[in-house]
Structures are given as C-alpha cells and as structure tokens.
C-alpha cells in the first residue's frame, strides 16, 4: 500500500463530514418518526430519502477528500496476462469439454422435464376450442337478466353470456341490433341473426382483448387494444388493423315467448389462433 493512501486531515473536510453525518442521522430519525405518527407517506419518505442521500454524501466526502486518488497500481492476474499461468478456463480444453458435456446434460434434462410438465396438463387444445355456449342457452347480460327480442333498439350494443356461465371470459359475446334494411343480400347473416339481432365473440382474434367499441356508419366493432376494425354487416370480417380473422358469430334464435337463445356454439374457435386450431 502506498503511503499516500490516506490524505492529511483537512479541517473543512472533517467539518463537512460531521455536518453530513449529523444531518443524515437526523433526517433518518425524523423519517421514521413521521412514518409512525402521520398517515401521509410523502414527508416520511422524503425525510428517509434525504437521510440516505446525506449519508451517501458523507461517504463520498471521505472518498474524495480523506482518501487518496485512484492511482493504486497492481499487476493484472487475469486470464491472458503474463502474471497468470493456466488460469483461463476458456482456453483449457478440459474445462471446455466439461462445459459442453455439462451444458448438453442440462439441456437434455430441461427438455425431458419440460416435456413431462407440458404433457401432464389437461387438454389445453380442447378447452381453447370450446366455450360454454350450447344450443338453447338463454342469452343474458352480466347481471343475469335474459335479453328479450325487441329490448334492444337498433344501433345499440350489449355484452352477453350464456345463462349458466355468466362472466366466463371465453364465452363473452357482443350482441348488436342492426337495421335489417341495410343488410342488402346477405342470406347467411339473416339466418344466424333473426330480426337484426347479431352476436359475435367479444374476444379479439388478434390478441384476445375484449372488442368493446361499436360505431355506426359504417357499422363496425373496434378493438381498443390495437385498433382492429371488424365489419358488423359482413360477418365481422376484419377490415383494418392487425386482426386477420373474423370474430366468430353466435347463431341466435328467438323462442316463442320472445327470449333470445343461442342456436348453437360459435361458428369457430374464439380468440387468437394457435398451432393446430381447427378451421
């Protein structure tokens, strides 16, 4: 160690150190007191932060004014430097071989373990494919109220569920009432959407956000997440934005007492795609 490692004591540096230490300790004590006496966390946190900063400044003062400059020198004992013999695992073939063997062992174990974990799960693909909608389910709102035909004025919009699975994320659907005169000749639409009542899956086919915005003229559903736009009058075909698949449609029927019911499940798997999704 060099003799200059500790500088001569300079009175002003010692004075500054004393002030910082005292101030820092004082701020910390104040902070703790405030924390336990006041409900507002702001002043307490500020005092604690200032206390830590002052103590940090105290240490910096010691480093800067009481210890020497960073000019100590030593020989480098590192791989590749003359002062180091044979201490570089990167160039020792033995170590390298060991690394390769160990690495592949870990990789194989990981693959086997990962595979076992993945296989032990329930049938993910079936659950992704299916929703709770069955033929004849009453269409209800999120508070369980069945929707009657005619409840909805043309141009309005509701989030609906099957009566036995209210709130089920994969079964949420948007129910819209569109003006049948504007449909033109779209026979398929007519058959799934009696009297202008049309329902689509609310899960965006892009990333699965709820498609929550309905606009008229042109009649489109817009996903708030990345602005995918779906044409309501044309089977929810994506007309703009990142989605590349229409929203699956829920066939609807109106029963004798005017209640809206599902005519079956969605016309396709809901939400974003996956490897092996049936078409």
């Amino acid at each position: 160690m060099k003799p200059t490692d500790v500088l001569p004591l300079r009175p002003w540096a010692v004075a500054r150190l004393a002030v910082l230490l005292a101030g820092g300790a004082g701020a910390l004590v104040t902070g703790v007191t405030l924390l336990f006496t006041r409900d507002d966390h702001g002043p307490a946190g500020a005092a604690l932060g200032i206390g830590a900063l002052a103590l940090g400044a105290a240490f910096a003062t010691v480093a800067k004014h009481l210890l020497g400059p960073p000019d100590d020198e030593e020989e480098r004992h590192a791989p590749g430097s003359p002062a180091c013999q044979g201490c570089d695992p990167e160039t020792r073939p033995q170590t390298r071989r060991r690394l390769v063997v160990g690495g592949s062992a870990v990789a194989v174990l990981g693959a086997v373990g990962g595979g076992a974990l993945l296989r032990g799960r329930t049938d993910a693909r079936r659950e992704l494919r299916e929703t709770s909608w069955r033929r004849g389910d009453a269409v209800v709102t999120d508070d369980g109220r069945p929707v009657q035909a005619g409840d909805l004025a043309p141009g309005s919009f509701l989030t609906v569920f099957p009566d036995h699975a209210i709130g089920a994320a994969d079964s949420q659907a948007v129910l819209l009432r569109v003006d049948t005169r504007r449909l033109g000749n779209r026979p398929r639409f007519e058959e799934l959407a009696p009297d202008g009542h049309v329902a689509y899956s609310k899960l965006c086919t892009h990333m699965g956000c709820p498609v929550g915005l309905f606009q008229q003229d042109p009649d489109v559903l817009v996903c708030p997440c990345h602005q995918a736009v779906f044409d309501v009058l044309d089977g929810a075909r994506p007309v703009q934005g990142p989605a590349d698949r229409p929203l699956p449609q829920l066939p609807l029927v109106i029963d004798d007492d005017g209640t809206l019911r599902a005519g079956g499940g969605f016309t396709g798997p809901v939400g974003p795609g996956w490897w092996g999704r049936p078409r």
Partner: protein
C-alpha cells in the same frame, strides 16, 4: 495441514481481496446501480409479500378507498388497495419497489450498452457478457410479472397479451400457455402462480446469476480505459479497502436515497384508478412499463403476418411478440462470437475501446438503439394519432417507413462522426 496454516492461508486470502485494485470511471458505476436497485427491490419486496394476498376467490371490497367499496374483486387487488391506503408505509414501499424496478432495468440496459460500445465483452469476458444478457432477460420477465400481480384492469390486459404470445408458439403454444398461466385465461390459480415466480423462482435465479457475474468480474479482473499508467498488464485504480468500499457504499446510499425520494414524491402505478380486472373490459390508452414498450411497439406496427407451416397455423402475434424479442436476445448473446469471427481478433483484451475507434461496431450499436427507440415511441401510436388528428393507420405507416430507414441513417451518421472524432483526436 494444521489449523494455524489454514488460518494464515485464509488471512492471506482476505488480505489479498482487500488489497485488490478496481479501476475508477463513472461508467463503471452503471452495473453497481443495477446491483443496488436489486437490493432495494428485495428489501421492499419482502415487506410487500407480508401484506399481499394472492387469492384464490373473490372478495367484496370494504376498505378505505370509497370509490371501489362494494365492488367484487380478487384478493390480490383488494390487498394491493389495502397496502396503498391502510398499511403503514405500504404505499411508500409499493412506489419505491416500482421505481426500483424501473431503475433496475434501465441501469442494466445502459450498463449493457456501455459494455457493448467499449468492447468489454471480448475475451476473457465473453461468458460474463452472456450472463449479463441473461440477467437482462430475467429482469424484464420479473418486471412484467410484478406488474401483473395487483390484478387491476391495466395489468390484466397485459397478462392477456402475454398469454396470447405463449399460445402463439408453434407446436407447444397451448401447453406452454397452460403451464405458465395455470390454465385457460384467466385461470383461478394464475395470480398465485405468477406470484411464486415473481417472488421466489426468478429472484433466486437473478441472485444466483448476479453472484456468478460479480465473481467473474472479480476473478477475470475489471477492464480499464487506456491512458496514463494504464496498460494491458496492470490495473490502476482504488484498492478494495478502503477507497473502493467507501465509494461503493456512498453509491448504495445514494441509490437508496434517490429511489426513496421518488417513491415518496412521484406517484407511480396508481392501481386504484384502473379498477379491478374484468375480462370483458379494457382500458385505453394503455402502455406497459418502459422496458416492455419495445415489444408493445412491435406488436402495433408489424404487419399482421400469420402464416402456415405444414398446414398448421402460426398466428401473427408470434412474429412481433415472440420471434422478434427472442431474435434480439439471440443477437446480443451471439455478438462477442460474431465479432470475433468477423475481425479474427481472438486475443484477450483488458483495455477498453473508445467507441470512435471502432466505427462499425459503434454504428451498428447506434442503429440498434434507434430501432428500439422507435419501437418504444410506437407503443403509444394511438395517442399520437389523436394528438396529430390523423388516423392510426397513417401513423402506423409512418413508423413502418421510419423503421426501415432511420436505423440505416443513424448508422451512416454515427460512422461519419466516429471518423471525424478520430481525425480530430489524432495528434
């Protein structure tokens, strides 16, 4: 060997460690800032775990925050509200924890950039570069999981998106999503599973790798900039004791102080404003924390490119959300080896490069940073469209054009500047 021998050997070892010299430069502090933010994260995190309730089930809120009273929510969200409004020092701990995560990731990123631009990743530090990149990946993953735990509307949307990424992976997608998120979204056990990953699995992995990272810095010695007495064969700087330890303690206290001040005075992630998660609702406009915005940006402006392999579907989120980020990390991991291939330089280097002296590397790095910067900006393209009073579509196209041109321009300009600086500093 006798006991005294052992003791003297141990003493000699400790004395050797204390006498070890560390080079001194402001840019060497970046990694230490990351380290100390991690310590703050662990400290505040331990406190938060005492009060967080990971579920399962639903509760009806009747706590101190009036606007949400009587509303059904998950125990995770309810306990986060309790932490924010009723637990003494709870909001302070939450906010310091969040700020520490923002600083932790930022410090790692800037530290990595410093290593990159000065060539500190070359032999004998190639392995340690890879350890560092792995730490960056773990930090991002854990940040995301931490954001998800409060189970508010904003974070729930984020988890939905991450779920879709997992689901989009070819062959194993659905199984992977089920494994990570405990079932079909939103699964009953999801928060609980993310909780254990966030508080135990990933932090332990980070701590282990961090220890190894530091050990490598120690055993392979620290690099230094050329100049003065500094040569390949020596180390010039502060001895571990006293100067280095005093300085680094100062830094620890300053990091802790700044994070505490931020947590006390600057609000971050006010989850009570977002409301509880509801799969049938979404918030707009919404962005994740800064360190995830490059992925969000890619998602927004990459064209929808789903495709088919062997008649099986690879949905479009795979490219922007999985393949693209993984390609970035693969490139980072491979960089030291690629550069070695191209330059043929297999020597050990303990003296750092000045960025200007390696114009090609510096230009490539600058181009990469500009690309990431564009993607971060693109993460709020809907807000920008609103401000500019144009359609989201045209903003998207603007970003696409910029993405293809700006990095090349930045690279060319950087290359020129490097050469100009070289000429100026030539004697």
């Amino acid at each position: 060997m006798s006991g005294t021998d052992l003791r003297t050997r141990a003493e000699r070892k400790v004395a050797g460690v204390l006498r070890k010299v560390f080079p001194d430069h402001w840019s060497f502090l970046l990694g230490e800032i990351a380290l100390y933010s991690f310590l703050v994260l662990v400290g505040t995190g331990l406190f938060l775990t005492l009060h967080f309730d990971r579920g399962p089930g639903e509760v009806v809120y009747d706590g101190a925050y009036e606007q949400l009273r009587g509303i059904e929510m998950s125990p995770a969200y309810a306990s986060t509200l309790e932490l924010s409004f009723e637990v003494r020092g709870g909001l302070l701990a939450r906010q310091v924890h969040h700020w520490a995560a923002l600083v932790f990731t930022a410090a790692i990123a800037v530290h990595a950039a410093r290593i990159f631009f000065t060539g500190a990743f070359r032999r004998p530090r190639r392995l340690n570069w890879c350890v560092g990149v792995s730490l960056l990946m773990l930090a991002l993953a854990n940040g995301f999981m931490g954001l998800s735990l409060p189970d508010d509307l904003l974070s729930g949307t984020g988890v939905r998106i991450a779920y879709t990424f997992a689901q989009s992976v070819p062959v194993i997608g659905p199984d992977l999503a089920y494994l990570v998120f405990a079932g079909e979204f939103p699964a009953e056990e999801m928060i609980s599973q993310l909780y254990w990953a966030h508080v135990l699995v990933i932090p332990v992995a980070i701590a282990g790798l961090l220890g190894f990272h530091l050990f490598q810095v120690f055993s392979r010695t620290h690099t230094q900039f050329p100049g003065g007495e500094r040569r390949e064969g020596n180390v010039v700087g502060d001895r571990m004791w006293p100067a280095y330890l005093v300085k680094t303690t100062a830094l620890l206290l300053v990091v802790a102080g700044v994070l505490t001040l931020l947590g006390a005075l600057v609000q971050v992630n006010p989850v009570w404003l977002y409301g509880p998660f509801d799969p049938a609702a979404a918030t707009v406009p919404a962005q994740p924390d800064w360190y995830l915005q490059w992925v969000e940006g890619a998602l927004r402006i990459f064209p929808p490119v789903g495709f088919e392999v062997f008649g099986r579907e690879v949905p479009s989120p795979f490219v922007a959300g999985v393949a693209f980020p993984l390609a970035w990390f693969a490139l980072l991991l491979a960089w030291p080896f690629l550069e070695e291939r191209v330059t043929g330089d297999r020597d050990h280097h303990h003296l750092l490069d000045r960025p200007r002296d390696r114009p090609v590397r510096t230009a490539i790095g600058a181009a990469g940073i500009s690309l990431l910067g564009l993607l971060v900006a693109a993460a709020s393209h809907d807000t920008q469209a609103m401000l500019l009073d144009t359609g989201v579509g045209s903003v998207t196209w603007g970003y696409r054009v910029a993405l293809l041109t700006l990095p090349a321009v930045v690279a060319a300009v950087t290359w020129q500047v490097c050469h100009a600086l070289q000429r100026r500093s030539a004697p």
